[in-house]
């Protein structure tokens, strides 16, 4: 069993096999991942499933001098299979195409930042019984409320170990923990029988930071706010984004658009916009990997390169240095990697991902933002995503309410919005002081003027 396996020994064995079978390779990297998890699921507001599991695996990425890549992986951690997959990777590399854009895998040049509280050792003594206490908090909120009729939700505790060894001298290893809890609350209006749902989740590095009660309360609040759904008329009006709305409409699209791979292949609507103003002065965005204890924080990235803080947008200007790189895209542009190589597991080649993407809070009070709207929309969520190549974003408001004379009114049915993201950035007129952290995102409330709202209420009525 893998507790007995010496990862570093196995990785070095793999490199030796590579050297023996193809001495003239340019560089190679071994990635080993191990994880264990525990999961409790709630269905119909009752504990339904308990699950424990573990995962482990090893991959090799190897490059020829002409830049062609070979990759192979397995979850069978024994030398026979590892030898086989190294040989497979070499076979893959031999048949690949040359790539002059590939420069090198990271070299050991820079020191690593100190980032604390990424691993919570209380996971070691976490029992399934303790985990169940967290979901009991969810269940209680649903039981105690008259309108709540059902809830699904879950709690997961994860611990991951990543180990990276490359032929350029990098050897790093780190452990992290992730805990998450979620609630999808179903409510029924006691008078007219209308049913709706509301969702909320938390993701934390530290078990003690998980608050099931608060998560379920927020889901319940969202669900109730989603009752009395009505169709509205088509009209241009201001939209206030809740922190979740800000993530969906601003941070998520920016995360894709500043990905250097998307950018270099010209798949981003921000192509040609570097060092230019792309929106309101109020927009300041960082991608910070070195905040202690945050979900998107890391000491090193998926290639073992040191992580750091990067300024992306300053006072509405998209900075020249505002792209997120791994070693490949950085090499192509002849800059240094930003430490944003991301890999979801040992089985994937590194792509590019955000660390903690932060939209800096503004000066407005969130309540004032709403109070000052005569007629507008409070947008809490949409399941849509924009066309990143064009920036066009039309979607369905899955949770939103009408604002009238500064008050939050009925929920919306079949109501869509449409805007190009560059217009959206331009039309930001206010950002709140208050903000919320969801996973790797930090998001305040944002007011956007002049958004096309398409309602399903026909003009005849």
């Amino acid at each position: 069993m893998y507790e007995d396996i010496d990862i570093s020994e196995l990785a070095k064995f793999a490199i030796r096999i590579a050297e023996k079978n193809y001495p003239n390779y340019k560089c190679a990297e071994i990635f080993v991942g191990k994880s264990e998890y525990l999961n409790i699921e709630v269905e119909e507001n009752s504990v339904k499933y308990s699950e424990i599991g573990r995962n482990h695996g090893i991959s090799i990425r190897i490059y020829r001098r002409n830049g062609s890549i070979g990759f192979a992986f397995t979850n069978k951690l024994n030398k026979n299979v590892v030898e086989k997959i190294v040989k497979n990777a070499i076979k893959m590399m031999r048949v690949g195409t040359p790539d002059p854009n590939f420069k090198n895998l990271p070299e050991k040049l820079k020191p690593y930042s100190v980032v604390e509280d990424l691993y919570d050792k209380s996971i070691k003594s976490l029992l399934i019984e303790d985990a169940i206490d967290h979901v009991k908090d969810l269940i209680n909120i649903c039981t105690e409320d008259d309108q709540a009729i059902s809830q699904s939700g879950d709690f997961t505790a994860n611990s991951n170990l990543s180990y990276i060894l490359n032929s350029n001298g990098i050897e790093v290893s780190g452990e992290e923990t992730l805990f998450d809890i979620s609630s999808n609350m179903i409510v029924k209006d006691t008078i007219n029988g209308e049913v709706s749902n509301g969702y909320e989740s938390q993701m934390k590095r530290k078990l003690a930071d998980i608050d099931g009660t608060k998560t379920a309360e927020e889901a319940l609040k969202n669900a109730k706010r989603n009752l009395h759904r009505k169709k509205i008329k088509t009209k241009k009006m201001p939209v206030i984004l809740s922190p979740k709305g800000t993530i969906k409409l601003i941070l998520n699209p920016i995360a894709s658009a500043i990905n250097a791979e998307m950018y270099q292949y010209k798949r981003s609507f921000l192509v040609g916009k570097r060092e230019k103003k792309i929106g309101s002065d109020l927009i300041n965005i960082d991608d910070n990997a070195i905040i202690n204890g945050r979900v998107g924080s890391n000491i090193f990235d998926g290639e073992g390169f040191p992580c750091r803080n990067k300024k992306i947008i300053e006072r509405g200007h998209f900075l020249q240095s505002g792209l997120l790189h791994n070693s490949y895209t950085a090499g192509k542009e002849e800059v240094e990697s930003t430490g944003n190589a991301s890999r979801s597991s040992f089985s994937s080649v590194p792509s590019i991902g955000i660390s903690n993407l932060i939209l800096h809070p503004g000066t407005a009070q969130k309540d004032e933002l709403i109070e000052n709207v005569k007629e507008g929309i409070l947008l809490n969520s949409t399941a849509d995503s924009p066309n990143i190549a064009t920036g066009d974003f039309s979607g369905l408001i899955s949770q939103g309410n009408l604002i009238q004379n500064g008050e939050i009114k009925h929920a919306l049915n079949e109501t869509m919005f449409g805007i190009n993201l560059l217009d959206l950035f331009e039309n930001i007129t206010s950002i709140s002081k208050e903000y919320k952290i969801y996973g790797p995102y930090s998001a305040p409330y944002v007011k956007i003027d002049n958004v096309q709202i398409i309602g399903a209420q026909s003009l005849k009525n």
Binding site: S50, E129, G418
Partner: protein, 483 residues
């Protein structure tokens, strides 16, 4: 590619040992184990960005006691690990049971002892990596050279073979040898500052013959042409419109707007708007909707392979079968897994599916479609005064609780006075499940029938699905737009 049969460790003596361990402690258990191998080729701008191969093992063990489930996942396939995880699952089930408030039983079903194999004219094991690369390079070249407006191309080839075993406490022991292949092509083009993209894929269960159809051979050519065509498309104007949906879109519509809300797990958890609607008229009398993931559908559609959404048995050992969802407008059946069929006291209908042996089965669709009727496509357009002809989709989703769904179309043509007019892009459509089914005002004939395949996500798990239908017309759909 040859997989060593490590699964032979599940011999009769070992199974007898597990049965003994379980004794009277559990009411139901099952074990799924899979050994798989495969290849991924990822090319961008005619260069390889990933050429990879893998060899993996997965195993998941479930135990059930009176409404409570325990599940344990492991990767080391040896008797000791399996037995210890088996005991862990029982312990987890017991713990779950001690806390739950909804007690129920799993009704015992007939055991099945059988082996299944995906037939293939060109087995993946007979195709070498050079041949696969040649094919991908060729698609990349065709796309890149089709116009000066093309700025970026990407082609992803994925294949895999697997050996699976399923054992449960009813006495089932099912072995499967499966094989799949998928080719995906994406093309970006640019003109006067406008960037557009198109994406197409082919995929199915089988071997290299999946790439031998005309559709597969012309995949990149089609994607490139579409991408260029979209450069001149207009953004839509939002409002209420009559739409004509092509088979791909009609399939997505029925998958999103009806299928998910028919999944019995969502019905039991009060999350479906179709709760208590069995036997009720929820659509026009012209409408029949089926989910039929059984094998042989590909052949009926003239394909040399099985559909992506097809399977022999579901992930709970129940054979795939045809389920009528709507007959003449009346809701007839929900889709079930072992648990929901037990709780509703109905026979299971083979819709318990999981994304892998490491994930627990949920209620999922397979191949969902609307049955054809009698309109031909020309009549359908001529009969539509003002509307939008919508072809193909980018994605779709639904909220089964509120019934609100939405999807995005790839191509949309304005229809004016019964004539097809200018092209529009990024048309988003939205509606309410219970309203839209009653607004289908015309259903196309069998000559217009078609399907598409893709990946559907639910509860963090992705499974392969297919859906389809004839052309259909729907009145009063909300269309989103930037104008």
């Amino acid at each position: 590619m040859e997989i060593d049969d490590e699964l032979s460790l599940f011999d009769n003596a070992f199974i007898a040992d597990l049965l003994r361990e379980a004794g009277n402690k559990v009411e139901y258990w099952d074990i799924r184990a899979t050994l798989s191998e495969g290849t991924t080729l990822d090319f961008t701008d005619q260069r390889s960005t990933e050429i990879s191969s893998y060899e993996m093992a997965n195993c998941g063990i479930r135990a059930f006691i009176n409404g409570g489930w325990g599940f344990s996942v492991l990767k080391d396939l040896n008797k000791d690990s399996i037995k210890s995880s088996f005991l862990k699952s029982i312990k987890l089930a017991r713990l779950t049971k001690s806390l739950l408030k909804n007690e129920f039983k799993i009704i015992e079903r007939d055991p099945l002892e059988k082996s299944f194999k995906i037939d293939s004219k060109l087995p993946l094991s007979d195709v070498n990596i050079e041949e696969k690369i040649k094919l991908v390079k060729n698609h990349e070249k065709i796309a890149a050279n089709s116009s000066k407006l093309i700025t970026n191309t990407r082609t992803i080839y994925m294949d895999g073979i697997s050996n699976c075993i399923f054992i449960n406490s009813f006495g089932s022991k099912i072995k499967q040898t499966l094989s799949y292949l998928r080719l995906l092509n994406m093309v970006y083009s640019r003109k006067a500052g406008i960037i557009q993209r198109s994406l197409n894929s082919v995929g199915g269960l089988g071997g290299f013959e999946i790439l031998s159809t005309e559709k597969a051979e012309k995949l990149s050519e089609k994607t490139a042409q579409e991408s260029i065509k979209l450069l001149d498309a207009k953004s839509p104007i939002g409002g209420q419109f009559t739409i004509i949906a092509d088979p791909k879109l009609a399939g997505t519509l029925i998958h999103e707007a009806l299928g998910h809300a028919c999944e019995a797990d969502l019905v039991l958890s009060k999350e479906s708007i179709l709760k208590e609607k069995i036997g009720k008229e929820i659509a026009l009398t012209d409408i029949n909707v089926i989910d039929d993931p059984s094998t042989g559908q590909g052949k009926k559609l003239g394909l040399p392979y099985e559909l992506f959404g097809s399977y022999f048995i579901d992930d709970e050992g129940i054979p795939s079968q045809k389920t009528t969802i709507i007959k003449n407008g009346i809701l007839k059946n929900y889709l079930h897994n072992l648990e929901t069929s037990s709780r509703m006291n109905l026979p299971p209908n083979g819709h318990g599916r999981a994304s892998s042996s490491s994930a627990r089965p949920q209620v999922r669709m397979g191949f969902t479609y609307i049955e054809p009727k009698d309109w031909n496509i020309e009549e359908l357009i001529q009969d539509t005064k003002n509307g939008i002809l919508c072809k193909d989709f980018l994605y779709g989703y639904t909220n089964p609780t509120t019934g609100n769904f939405q999807f995005k179309c790839k191509f949309s043509y304005k229809i004016e006075n019964g004539e097809k007019k200018e092209l529009m892009r990024d048309v988003a459509l939205s509606g309410m499940i219970l309203e839209v089914l009653k607004r289908i005002s015309a259903v196309g004939d069998k000559n217009t029938f078609g399907f598409s395949s893709g990946i559907c996500g639910k509860g963090g798990q992705n499974v392969q699905v297919s859906d389809g239908g004839p052309y259909i017309r729907v009145d009063d759909i909300t269309v989103g737009g930037l104008n």
